[in-house]
Structure formats: C-alpha cells, structure tokens
C-alpha cells in the first residue's frame, strides 16, 4: 500500500513538482521583500547614479545606480550583451573613446563628479585591467611596469624600487627578477596578466576596474589572480566584471546582476547565491535561462 501525496502520484512524476517549488519561490506570495540597502557601515568609494550609456541612438545602459563600497570587491554578473562591460568602461570614461558613444547620468568618485574631471586624471585614479593581457610589446618587463609613469612623463624617485614593489604585490617578482630586461611578451598568459595588473598598480590608483580578467587564463593562473584580488582589496576598491558566476561567488563581497542594460539585483554575494530576491536573478544563477 503506497501513500500518495496530494500532488502527483509517485512514479508518474511530471515536471510540475520541481516547477512548483521554483514557482513558489517566484510567486508574489513567496517573494521575500528584503530591502536592498547598502551596508550602513561601509564607506562608499564610488557611486553610479542613474547612469545611461549610448552607442549612437541605442541605449545600452538604461539608468543604473550602484554604490561601490571602499576596499571591497563588487562583482557584476549577467548574460552576454547585458551591458556589464559598457558599464564598467563608463566608470573610467573609456566608453566615450569609441566614436559615437556617450554617457549620461552621474558617477561620483569620493564625491567628485568624474565627468567634471580631466579624463586623464580620472584614469590615473581609476585603473583598468582588461580581458586579454596587453603588455606593451616594445617594452621590457621593467619597462612595462613603469610604462604608465614614463608615458606620462612622471619620473619616479626610485624606479627600480617601485618596479620591485609592484611586482612583489602581484607575486611576480620571484619569477621575473632575474630577467627584468626580457620582453613583456615572453611571459605566459597568467604572468602577462599579472604584469598588466602591476602596471596598473604602479600608478597608485584608488579603484581598480577589471573586465573579465581571467577569461583568457587557465585555472591555475585564474586562481593566482583571484588570490591577488583578495590581497589587493585591502588597499583598493575593486569592481570586477565576470561571466563566471562561481568566480563572482569566490572573490566578491557584493554582487550585482545586470540584464539587458538594467540592474536587476544588487546585494551581498552570500545572499545572491543562497536566496536571491528576484526571480530573474534566481533563474540566471541556477542556469534556468531560456
């Protein structure tokens, strides 16, 4: 004698059961209305206020407001084409370098409006690391690290000391100290990326933007860079765009989910990955996307 439960009979499972559970999670009656507040104690280093971005007439970012707490890592996740790369490029005004592109809205860095600043000065305070490692091929390793300063005509007091310091910060020093004169291109992919991070650090920025920094790297190199991010966040505020959700879960304290140019949800990473408030977030991170 089998006990049947009030829903589907055992053995003749329909899709309904699992659906029902998820449906319940999404239905209005079950949605937890957790207010999405900023952590009251953290200082906000950078803040986007109703940011919009356009390529010509097309509006790619449709009014996003997002705080970036100081000395924390904020991850931005979302499917391809949701605007995360465009958004992060607005934060250091790289977006407008593309012909026909413009941005509107407000972005504050420590209460300074970045659109009222000289973009060159802004980019020295807000550094960027790109998806594909891009060391300068005509320069040596040492040259690459100091490139930002050199190209700006800044003479550091102790160039060798600075080079060593930043290379140690990115855990590259021991690997390259005997060959600083070698071309930057002679390193492996993971090493090149760390070199690019060192190059950014030499400018002593306050915020570091990372646009999918590990997507071109193998798992071990990725792990090294993630470890580096853990270290770096003690001194810098980090914003990282990633299409790898597990990476966001590993490195970031806060996660924002973008979809089609809009901010769907922003909260502590723990919350996003255990009980997201929005159905779309839930669907995306569990892999229920169309």
């Amino acid at each position: 004698m089998m006990m049947g439960y009030s829903s589907a009979p055992i053995g003749a499972r329909e899709n309904s059961e699992k659906d029902v559970i998820s449906r319940e999670a999404q239905s209005p009656t079950a949605t937890r209305e957790r207010p999405q507040e900023e952590p009251a104690t953290a200082n906000v280093k950078m803040r986007a206020g109703d940011l919009r971005a356009f390529f010509g007439k097309a509006e790619v970012i449709k009014g996003i407001s997002l705080p970036f707490p100081e000395n924390k890592v904020t991850a931005i996740i979302g499917p391809s084409g949701c605007g995360k790369s465009t958004f992060i490029r607005c934060l250091n005004r790289m977006h407008e370098v593309v012909p026909g592109a413009r941005a509107a809205g407000e972005v504050l860095l420590d209460s300074d409006d970045i659109y009222a600043m000289d973009p060159v000065r802004l980019r020295r305070r807000v550094g960027m690391v790109f998806q594909k490692p891009n060391p300068f091929p005509t320069m040596s390793i040492r040259g690459n690290v100091l490139a930002g300063l050199k190209l700006n005509g800044i003479r550091p007091d102790d160039p060798d000391g600075l080079a060593e310091k930043t290379l140690r910060q990115v855990a590259l020093w021991d690997e390259v100290k005997d060959g600083l004169g070698r071309s930057g291109m002679s390193l492996s992919g993971g090493q090149q990326q760390r070199l690019c991070i060192a190059r950014t650090l030499a400018m002593e920025p306050e915020v570091i933007l990372m646009d999918e920094p590990c997507s071109a790297l193998d798992p071990i190199a990725t792990a090294r860079v993630e470890e580096l991010i853990h270290e770096l966040q003690k001194q810098y505020t980090i914003v990282i765009v990633t299409h790898n959700m597990q990476q966001a879960a590993r490195v970031a304290q806060y996660t924002a989910f973008f979809y089609m140019g809009e901010l769907v949800e922003h909260d502590e990473t723990n919350v996003i990955f255990t009980r997201p408030a929005q159905a779309r977030t839930e669907d995306y991170i569990t892999g229920r996307f169309g």
Binding site: M94, R124, T138, G143, S183
Partner: protein
Amino acid sequence: MNGIRSSYVYRRAVDRAVRAACVLAAIVALVPLFLVLYYVTVRGIGGLNWAFFTELPKPVGEAGGGAANAIVGSIQLVGLACLFGIPLGVLAGVFLAEFGQSFFGRMVRFAADVMAGVPSVTIGIFIYALVVLPTKQFSAYAGGLALAVIMLPTVTRTTEELLKLVPEALREAALGLGVPQWRTTLWVMLRTAAPGVATGIMLAVARVAGETAPLLFTSFNNRFWARGLNEPISSLPVQIYTYAVSPYEDWHRQAWAAALVLVSLVLFLNVAARVLVRNRVRSR
C-alpha cells in the same frame, strides 16, 4: 571506387602543376633582380678604385678622375629628402590612421594615392617652377624637396596601414593608464608600428635614391664640390646619366662603377635599417 581514385590522381597532378608554375613564376620574377646585380657588379667592379671615391671628375678628355662629389651629393640630397619627407609623411600617416574616416581624411588619402602615381619628372618640373625659378638657381634644396615630394605618399600610406595593424588593445591599455590621447598615439601605437614604418621608409628612400628625372631640373649637376646647399649639386644618378650617354669609354666605365655604388648604397640602407630596428626592440 575508381572514380574517386582517378579524381585523386587528377587532383594531385593539378596540385603539382600549379605548384611548379608558382615556383617558376617566382624564379622568373627574381631573374631581373639577379641579372641587374650580376651585370652591374661585373661591369662596375673594374672601375672601382681609390680615385673613384676620392677625386672629382677630370675635365673632358682627360682620363681618370672620380665621382666623390656625386657620392656625397647623393647622400646630401637623400638626407634632405628624409628631413623634409619623413616627419611630414609619418605625421600625415598618423592623421589618416586616427581621423581617416572623416571626409577630409578620405580626401587626403585619395590625394596621397594619386600622388604616388604621378611621374617623377612631373614632380621635378613642379619643383622647378616653384623653387628654382623664383630663386633663380638650381640647388640641393630644390633637389631634396623634389625627392621628398616623391617619398611622401609612400611614407604616409605605409605609416597609416601599419598603425592600423597595431592592436587596439594597446591603445586601451595606454588610455587606461591615464596617458593622454596624443601620447598614446605617438609613444605607444607608433612605437609598436615602428619596425614596419621604418621598413616602409627605407623602401621609399631606396626608391628615391635612384631617381634621376626630377634631379635634372632641380639640383642639376656640378662637376665640383657644391659650396653650399643653395648651389647645384652632383648626384650619382645624374652622373650615371651624363656619363652613360657620353661617347667616352672611360666615362662609361665610371658610369658602371657609379651604378654599382648606388645599388650597394641602397642595399646597405635596407639591411642596416632592418638590423637597427630589430636590435632596438630587443634591448628594451
């Protein structure tokens, strides 16, 4: 089964035939080059002696003499051409690479392409009218200017094309470091493209070093040392021309020698440029 087999045999045969044809064509293409080198060397080597390199031409009828002034003159003319032509050409190339999509940019590109096809004698006449007539004399300046105008389109287009080949990622990297736009273009993009640009420049210089027609109207010729750049100056191509059409056997011999020197100079320039650029890249 047979159908497949025979088509395989057929295809292999066709492949071999086409390959042979390509190799043959390449050889045929290279033949003139080697013939020229061979001929010039064989005919000219006899005329090379110390006097050739150090002495001025002797008066008509006298045997001996050299082409020292022609050699120096050629170097001076090419030097002037580089002085005028390279900075202008490179910057124009940079302009085209950065702003070439605008209407003005497209006009400039079109003009450069047209200029590349203008016969060099026309350019000589143009400089004659522009510079020689008003100053009422032939000069090295005029000659250098004419050569520069010939160099310009090649340098411009080469610079533009090579700049476009530099990955955008490098520009982004530099901009991301807070490097201003102009510095990024010059010190990063151009620097990366430098080896290719240098090659392009060397090609332009090599072409220009052997130009004869424009020099006929601008720098003319000088059987003595030019006392300044404001005077007519001798040059190897013009000297070769003058001697070659003359009836004197001795001058013919000297013409061959001068031709050998000219070809060697151009060869040397090419090789030197390549080597220098490669070393510079490695040492950084």
